[in-house]
Symmetry: C2
Subunit: 490 residues, 2 copies
């Protein structure tokens, strides 16, 4: 192989780190906890963005942009938000540098101190609801269905590329509604958009559910999430959609006159997915050879590698490749031809396996003679010799097969890794293996905290789809009428 | 009119401010100098982004993302950059808040002080070249053609929506090359991309040129720009492309081994356009009734307003409109039907004029009978009754006409507002009227500074297209062999 990866069984965490770096997705920057998203990684993120953006617009949302900075005082306005929200924020205190005559460098100008400190947004509910106060007067101004694509900062102490970084990219939707019912419907609609995106585009099965009170967003009445299972048996929360009730409207005094002419507080939702999805994508499908990308998100879907010894052969192969590329592109398939003469085919094969390109075509002089090409699919690593005639339809079908096969494989893994347990011993035993655990819970935060303290496992969600079932809490033995989803999580 | 605008002749600056706010493009936020870009404004910016992004990719560039924060020490590494670049930067000094037990609010935790302050990027050359050091080793790693879409912060004291804000959105390209020639070619190629975008999409004629030493970007060897003329006779720099020589490579020690095996410093360019273009777009074309948007950047190109008295009429009109909309959409035209029953047609007419929608269709019962529709174009405010049969082709042609008419009008205005002057009195006289002034200049920074001090006029650029001509500096009387472009500027 071109670049050695740690294997998953050796050290899953190191495998992930190696893979993100060696596949050129991202790297750590000179600034603690902040990453550089490299072009190959960013190209995947752009595809995610484009698709999500299309889905948001199809469901009636528009984009806008709100300030990076939030006045410190705004954080104190919503009680639960100030109490519960992580305080690890980047704080701007000064607005000017000046030349340092001693060192020739720059220093912060002590005279340029802000009257009120500004916080780099860790999330934008406060500044956005402060703005909505002026935008909403009547029921005719509602609903307001707004999304923004932005960077946010949370000063995490332990960071991991994509999964947890001080700065990350995300979208945050912030909607305003006249009624509670409409706001809840919006929260659920977006959860569906996220689940559809995860399953149809990322080929990653997810479980939709409601968070327990402990895991709820600070300021939300109800937090919904989609939860995915990674190959190491740990869960990854991949998107959240919050029903905020009237909490932010009350905190920022956002009222409207209803159809009946009454002054009422506005109902709110907020929802987001972030570059964390990149981490989920990597961990859900990839193997010891590198990334396995679903065709719908791959920066390019087909790589073509020429096999030749003489320059004349390359000329003939290149001509044929041009013809093939043209046909593939006409069918909406993205193609790259790597005729770099500095690397051997074997190196290229390994490189594009590492990068997760869904399909590789290799063409040598014999293929040219026979009118064939060698087709290798990344997900199963199978190879086949295929006639060039009609290749565009063959590849189109193959890409669809790969997309669905990756999903099916992940779904099978999740099903095999989901277990129902009924006793505390079974629970602890199951945790050793990892995976999703369906168990009864007595519904109390106290029990949830004790379970977390003893095992690090958390309630990922109360799945929306479930069968009511009488039982006893796996920890306290108290009665319960449904199972909830536990797991160790990222 | 629905919302009163100050007229341009009354107070151009107020007209601009009114228009940006009343047309729902943007507004000032609770954070000093930072704006909220509203959905209608953001939709225009998205169209600009999409087109520019397409042009960058067509010319071989890829996107990536670098950190928001830059360690303070990085600013000291490139001598001209530290000396010349504006020091008005937002400085992060702390990374945590804590609850304030006295007030119940939050305060900055004094114990969470950063060892080295972080600067919110005002531009990213330093952090990017610090990153490139690890990416570039051999000539085979070059060129590196990377762009990023990002927010940046410059703590401007006097801000105006879009034109000068503390935080703004932009793209910044940062490329690395093996040779000086290649880097210069890149700088010029991007200038062409910018000029093409301005002229073909914004319908805004621009002059391409090179900046004088005084106006050069701090750290650049040469700064190129496109300069546009606003309706009040002031110039607006609309995009810059910098040839950075080896300055940043030397400051951050970025070398490569050449084909010949020699270790050499890398050559650099950087280039950017920002949400400032939104300000240019507004000021270049709009009138006392509101925005005039070029069809290629309008969030929607056609608005359809029904004229009716009875509900049954609306039903019939709506059916017909559905048919028309379908045809227009099939021709790639974006359409909105405003059947809001809360507003009168007159109000809607004014509203969509304010918002600059290129074409308005109005349909009443008589139109329905006659198989016609009233078509109004925003640029000239002309109205015409047109047969519905074949309307899609008529509108398609009309949109193309509007796009070209707006450009032609702006070009004519610029030509009429460009004057050659040869004496200092003429120069001062011309400035009173505003517009572009072509005058001889002795080439010295001293003269340029004196002219600026006396008149506020600056050299906008040394146009790339010019006729060599012997003359005398308009200020010093020293010999000169070409005219340069002066103006008052935003």
């Amino acid at each position: 192989m071109a670049k050695e990866l740690t294997t998953r069984s050796e050290n899953y965490s190191q495998w992930y780190q190696d893979l993100v770096i060696k596949a050129d997705l991202a790297e750590n920057s000179a600034v603690r906890g902040c990453m550089v998203i490299k072009p190959y990684g960013y190209a995947i993120w752009e595809k995610m963005q484009a698709e999500l953006d299309r889905m948001f617009k199809e469901t009636g949302h528009v984009n806008a942009y709100f300030p990076l900075f939030i006045p410190k005082s705004f954080f104190s306005k919503e009680a639960a938000h100030v109490e519960g929200f992580a305080k690890e924020c980047a704080v701007v205190t000064h607005y000017r540098l000046k030349n340092d005559t001693e060192t020739g460098g720059v220093v912060v100008d002590p005279e340029a101190k802000l009257e009120e400190e500004l916080i780099i947004r860790p999330t934008s509910e406060t500044i956005i609801w402060n703005t909505y106060r002026n935008w909403i007067h009547s029921y005719r101004d509602l609903p307001l269905l707004i999304n923004q694509w932005a960077n946010v900062v949370r000063w995490e102490m332990r960071t991991r590329l994509f999964l947890r970084t001080a700065e990350f990219l995300w979208q945050e939707g912030h909607t305003a509604h006249a009624t509670k019912e409409e706001a809840i419907a919006e929260t659920e609609k977006i959860l569906d958009v996220y689940a559809t995106f995860a399953e149809k585009f990322m080929a990653m099965p997810v479980i939709k559910g409601i968070k327990s009170a402990n895991e709820r967003f600070a300021g939300a009445v109800e937090t919904y999430s989609i939860e995915a299972l990674m190959q190491d048996g740990k869960a990854l929360q991949s998107g959240t959609s919050h029903f905020l009730g009237q909490n932010f409207a009350k905190a920022f005094d956002v009222t409207f006159s209803s159809k009946e002419g009454k002054l009422e507080y506005v109902w709110a939702t907020s929802w987001g997915v972030s570059t964390r999805l990149m981490g989920a994508l990597v961990m859900a499908h990839s193997d010891d050879y590198g990334l396995v990308l679903p065709p719908k998100l791959a920066p390019f879907q087909v790589i073509i590698v020429p096999i030749y010894q003489k320059e004349e052969q390359l000329v003939l192969i290149s001509e044929k490749v041009k013809e093939i590329s043209g046909k593939l592109k006409a069918n909406g398939i993205s193609v790259k031809f790597d005729d770099n003469d500095n690397k051997k085919p074997g190196w290229k094969f390994a490189e594009y396996e590492l990068k997760g390109v869904p399909v590789r075509l290799a063409m040598g002089p014999r293929d040219l003679q026979n009118g064939t090409v060698e087709v290798a699919r990344r997900d199963t690593l199978e190879k086949q010799v295929v006639e060039i005639d009609g290749i565009e339809n063959y590849i189109e079908q193959l890409l669809a097969d790969i997309q669905s096969n990756i999903y099916t494989k992940a779904l099978k893994f999740r099903e095999e890794s989901t277990i129902k347990v009924d006793t505390w011993d079974e629970f602890k035993e199951a945790l050793k293996k990892g995976g999703f655990i369906l168990a009864h819970w007595d519904g109390s935060s106290e029990t949830e905290e004790k379970i977390k303290a003893e095992t690090k496992a958390t309630i990922r969600c109360l799945p929306l789809e479930f069968e009511p079932e009488e039982g006893k809490c796996v920890y306290s033995g108290q009665p319960s009428n449904r199972r909830v989803l536990f797991a160790l999580a990222y």
